[in-house]
C-alpha cells in the first residue's frame, strides 16, 4: 500500500483534521445533542481509515497502528466496566449514576449528566479502536495475500 493520487492526498490532508474534530465533538456532547459515543468513535475511526487509504499503512504507524488500537479497545472496555463497578461502590448499584447524585451539574451544560460523558468517551474510544482493528486486519490480510 503506497497510497493514492496527489489529488486524494491533498484533499485528505485538508479534510482529515475536521473529521477528527467532528468525531470528538459528537462523542463529547452526546448527552446534549444528537450523537453519542458510538457515532463519534466510528467517525474518529473513519478519519484514520481515510488517512490509511490515502497515504498507505506507513503514515499511521506509530500514531494509531494495530497494537495501539487494540490496547485502546481493551482499555476503553475496561474503563466502562470500572465505571459500573464504581457505581456499585459509591451509588449502591451496578452502573449507578453516582456522580449525578453526588455533584449534580447544571442542565444543558457540558459538565452535566453525571458519568454519562465519561461513559460516552469510553464507548467512543472502544468503538473507534475496534473498528480500526477490523480495518487494519483486513488491509493486512490482503497485503499478505497479494505477496
Amino acid at each position: 500500500m503506497t497510497g493514492m493520487s496527489p489529488i486524494v492526498k491533498t484533499v485528505t490532508r485538508w479534510v482529515s483534521p475536521f473529521i477528527l474534530a467532528f468525531g470528538i465533538y459528537i462523542a463529547l456532547t452526546g448527552h446534549l445533542t444528537p450523537g453519542g459515543g458510538f457515532p463519534g468513535g466510528v467517525i474518529v475511526a473513519g478519519c484514520f481509515i481515510l488517512i490509511t487509504l490515502a497515504y498507505g499503512k506507513e503514515r499511521v504507524e506509530g500514531i494509531f497502528d494495530l497494537k495501539s488500537a487494540s490496547v485502546t479497545d481493551s482499555l476503553a472496555s475496561l474503563s466502562f466496566l470500572c465505571m459500573g463497578l464504581l457505581g456499585y461502590v459509591f451509588g449502591g448499584g451496578f452502573l449507578n449514576n453516582f456522580i449525578q447524585s453526588g455533584f449534580p451539574g447544571k442542565a444543558f451544560e457540558l459538565l452535566s449528566g453525571g458519568n454519562m460523558p465519561i461513559i460516552n468517551i469510553a464507548i467512543g474510544f472502544k468503538v473507534g479502536g475496534s473498528l480500526f482493528v477490523v480495518f487494519a486486519y483486513l488491509a493486512l490480510f490482503r497485503a499478505i495475500e497479494e505477496e
Binding site: 459528537i26 452526546g30 448527552h31 446534549l32 445533542t33 444528537p34 450523537g35 453519542g36 458510538f38 457515532p39 466510528v42 467517525i43 475511526a45 473513519g46 481509515i49 487509504l53 479497545d73 472496555s77 466502562f80 466496566l81 459500573g84 451496578f94 452502573l95 449514576n97 449525578q100 449534580p104 451539574g105 442542565a107 444543558f108 452535566s112 449528566g113 453525571g114 454519562m116 461513559i119 460516552n120 464507548i123 472502544k126 468503538v127 475496534s130 473498528l131 482493528v133 477490523v134 480495518f135 486486519y137 483486513l138 488491509a139 490480510f141 490482503r142 499478505i144 495475500e145
Partner: protein, 186 residues
C-alpha cells in the same frame, strides 16, 4: 407515511438484490442502499441519533467490505445441504418454535409495546417515565442518551461486549499466524 412505505419498499428491493446479485461489488453497493434507505427512514421518524449512527456505520462498513472483497477470488457456497444438517436445523427450528409458543403468553397484547404497559415499580408506563424524569434524574439534555447510558446502561454494556467479541472473532479467523505459524498456511 406514504414516503416511509416507499423507502421501506426500496430497502426491501435493495436487500433482495444484495442477496441475489452475481458479483460482490453489486452486492456491497445494494447493501449500502439498504443502509441509507433505513437511515432516511429513521430521520423521517424523528430519530436523528439512530440516523447519524446508521449513516456513519454504513460508510465504514462499505469501505471495509470493498477493501476486503474486491479483487479477490470469490468462493461460492452452493448446494451442499446434507441430510444430517437438514434434520438438525429442523430439530432446532422445532425447539425454537416450542420455546416461543411457551413464552408467547408473557408478551404484551398485540399492537402494544412493553414500554406502554404500566409496571409496579413506576407510577406510570416506562416510556412516559423516561421522558418525564430523564433530565431530572440523569441530567443529560438528550433523552436518547439518558436512556442509553443510565436507564438502559446494561444494554449498552452488552452492545460493547458484542462488538468486542465480534472483533476478537474476526481477528482469530483472519490471522493465519495464530493457527498455522509464521509461514502462513501449511
Amino acid at each position: 407515511m406514504v414516503l416511509i412505505q416507499i423507502f421501506l419498499v426500496f430497502t426491501i428491493i435493495a436487500a433482495l438484490i444484495a442477496v441475489e446479485a452475481p458479483s460482490p461489488l453489486s452486492s456491497i453497493i445494494s447493501l449500502g442502499a439498504v443502509g441509507f434507505g433505513l437511515s432516511i427512514a429513521f430521520l423521517w421518524l424523528g430519530a436523528p441519533d439512530i440516523a447519524i449512527t446508521q449513516v456513519v456505520v454504513e460508510i465504514i462498513t462499505l469501505v471495509i467490505l470493498i477493501r476486503a472483497t474486491i479483487g479477490k477470488g470469490v468462493t461460492e457456497v452452493r448446494g451442499n445441504e446434507s441430510k444430517p444438517l437438514l434434520i438438525g436445523s429442523l430439530i432446532l427450528f422445532g425447539l425454537g418454535s416450542a420455546f416461543f409458543a411457551n413464552y408467547l403468553s408473557a408478551f404484551p397484547e398485540f399492537g402494544k409495546t412493553a414500554m406502554d404497559v404500566p409496571m409496579d415499580v413506576f407510577s406510570e408506563t416506562p416510556s412516559q417515565y423516561y421522558l418525564k424524569f430523564g433530565l431530572e434524574k440523569v441530567g443529560g439534555a438528550n433523552v436518547v442518551n439518558d436512556i442509553l447510558l443510565d436507564f438502559r446502561a446494561y444494554d449498552t454494556l452488552g452492545e460493547a461486549t458484542v462488538l468486542f467479541t465480534a472483533v476478537l472473532g474476526a481477528i482469530t479467523l483472519l490471522n493465519k499466524e495464530v493457527f498455522f505459524g509464521k509461514g502462513g498456511e501449511k
